[in-house]
């Protein structure tokens, strides 16, 4: 780390403690992610080649690349502060990525740079975890049933598709983020990013099929600002 960085980091820490002294909560950005148009039909997944997984479902699960909810809402969208907020130190708790029923739970795992992730195999079959990063280091590991969790870290921010090389339908994402201000939309497409000190921020929403959108927002005091995102859905 260069001297300049140390000085900067020191300044950031000073600023952060100043904010902490100023007020407890800070501002909040909240909103909803929706789509317009017709999204593609999410195809059912046929797991017949892996009976131990197939028998865990009464109706076949579907692909999760676009998950919609009531009122044209979009689920599984990562909303985060892409500019304006200082980088945070990684929390000490590990983010857990579970392989169950030959699917990834959660479909999108968001965590911070240098935060530990734990990958768990709860199935009776051997899985393979192959994230395909572009800027981080690529690895490819298999996890036979009953073996200990795999522990990994990423040191650069990136959205990384994750595949299982044994079960081609298994598909998930890692969202490696620089700060702790992020949320993943649930049913209803709502999100809320809290604890934002006053300042000017860029809020970005990322959807794995539709890409990302950004909006500028300025927070002063402990107000709540509303930011909504609308993605264009395509039938194919």
């Amino acid at each position: 780390m260069s001297k300049k960085h140390v000085v900067l980091a020191g300044a950031v820490m000073l600023a952060a403690s100043a904010v902490a002294l100023a007020g407890p909560a800070g501002g909040t950005v909240s909103g909803k992610v929706t789509y317009e148009g017709t999204p593609a039909k999410m195809k059912p997944i046929d797991m017949s080649k892996e009976p131990s997984c197939q028998k865990m479902y009464t109706t076949p699960p579907t692909v999760e690349t676009v998950v919609t909810g009531s009122g044209n809402s979009l689920q599984d969208v990562v909303v985060y502060i892409s500019a304006g907020a200082p980088d945070d130190a990684a929390p000490s708790t590990a983010a857990v990525f579970t392989q169950k029923g030959c699917r990834y739970i959660p479909h999108i795992l968001a965590f911070q740079v240098n935060q530990e992730i734990k990958i768990v195999n709860e199935d009776q079959t051997s899985h393979n975890i192959h994230p395909l990063p572009k800027v981080n280091r690529e690895w490819n590991k298999s996890q036979p049933p009953g073996t200990p969790p795999i522990s990994e870290k990423y040191d650069k921010a990136e959205f990384i598709p994750v595949k299982c090389n044994v079960h081609p339908w298994m598909h998930g994402n890692f969202a490696v983020l620089k700060n702790s201000h992020y949320a993943i939309t649930g049913d209803g497409g709502a999100f809320s990013l809290g604890n934002l000190p006053p300042g000017k921020y860029t809020v970005t929403a990322w959807q794995e099929s539709y890409g990302d959108q950004s909006q500028e927002v300025t927070i002063s005091g402990s107000e709540t600002k509303t930011v909504n995102f609308v993605f264009k859905a395509k039938p194919y």
């Binding site: 079959t125 298999s142 049933p145 009953g146």
Partner: protein, 595 residues
Amino acid sequence: MHEVSAAPAAHHGPPTTFIRKHVFSTDHKVIGIQYYHLALVAVVVGMVLSWLMRIHLGWTNAAIPGLQALSANGAPGGVMTPEYYLQLMTMHATIMVFFVLTTAPFAAFGNYFLPIQTGAEDMPFPHFNMMSFWVTLTGFLVLVSAFFVSDGPPLAGWTSYAPLSAIGKAAGPGQGAGQVIWATALGIFCVGQLLGALNFISTVLDMRCKGMTLSRLPVSAWAWFITSCMGLTAFAVLMPACILLILDHVAGTSFFIPSGLVINDQLIPHSGGSTLLWQHLFWFFGHPEVYIAIVPGMGIVTHVLVTNMRRPMLSMKAILYSMWALAFLSYMVYGHHMFVSGMNPFSSLVFSFPTLMITIPSTIVVLIWIGSLYGSQLRINTASLFALGFISMFVSGGVSGFFLAQPSIDIMLHATYFVVGHFHMVMGVAAMFGIFSGTYFWFPKMYGRMMDETLGKIHFWLTFVGTYCIFMPFHYLGWAGNVRRYAAFTDDYLKPLIPLHQFISVAALFTGAVQLIFIYNFINSRFRGAPAPPNPWEGTSLEWIMPSPPPWNNFGGKDPVVYHDAEQYGVKTASGADYIMQNSPEQALPGGDGD
């Protein structure tokens, strides 16, 4: 050929320093022993790998203690991952085929005994010969280094079919750096074997002593000569194939990669290559390679048997011509590895007939061996036991060739354990029996001490029964359709076969452990065995006229003169011995049972 006078010029003097004597030696005997020791190290590595594989196949989710230390990714918590199984399998096969089955019977024994049996003081190109060993050793070290790169060794098997082997990292763990290391190691190995083959061929053609006509050459020398001719042509094809494979990895060429391939949803940036080209190149080398592994064994076994039967073979000529026929046919048949590979189905029939024809010379050799036993005075010692075991194994492994030679039956048996059983019995176990037979036979000459015969016989019995218990069931598995190269058996129709796999695994662990007896016997006899006389087995060929071990210049500066072939056994002589050595001018008296 006529009486070639061979007054080989003393082309090198006695070695004076330790390094020149034992390390960078140009003495063919030292090089032979170096090759033998390399094969010994390699076979231990290969066997440990097979143990790990067999444990995994019998008990797939079992943790193997300590395995995690070898590869944390390959064996998390000691449980072998599927890719690590394939990586160990690839290394097992590559090490065994190239650094054991090619080096031990051909390069090790051939280097040591070929010049001696031809009556030469050394090979014609001793420095090439030295280079041959050191290049081969480099190849071995390069290959083993694949264990220590981040993704580990390649997983594409010893046949390394493209495009799996050519695409690179995207194709799977070990397919990047590991596969390049593999191809580099084999390319280096080819150089070593080409240098060796050149030396062997010129030794036989140019270095024979006075009276050593080609027809008087002992059968083992013939076998090495035939093998060198095969090696010269086979390795000369593998080497460029490996270079092309490396270029596909590092230079962006597409020799083996067609367009439009997709891995991990990414289009592979190659186009225009041919998948089948690799298979053609590989098997044009690969099929002769299995004969490179077995023909020296046939020569050694014939040599050991003729000595221990105390009678000539019914027809040594028939054996020699059959070995030549095998060598020749081995180039005609390689397509039988590719019956269902997408080659034109008509070619399959074309390759099928010469493959079936191979049965004929093989049967001739076996019948001559068995027929020669009739009326012999067979001496049972460890060397002859292994030679007889070789015949039994060769037959057992050979008859399965009837099935695999036929494309229609191959539809059911291709790429199953039936094939694995077939080649393990013929080119694996039978060739190993040839190596063991040669070791017990020639150890006294090579190290100047006798091996312990009791331990040797225990070693034989347990190995003989053990290897049958391992490899006969392979045929049953394949018969039932059990596909090879599976890291686990999850298919419904394969699950009932798992108990048979467990039986094989137990047998393999047991038989592997038995080899410790051999290693103990080898090391112990090397230092504490009884001193060996020059001719412990009452043989006739030239290695037995010299002290054990021979001096650096073989015949002590004198050139032997040969008067007979190496089959003067069961004859009546003035001294009462039942044999006449090749360099003895004595003629057999009438009344011997050879008359």
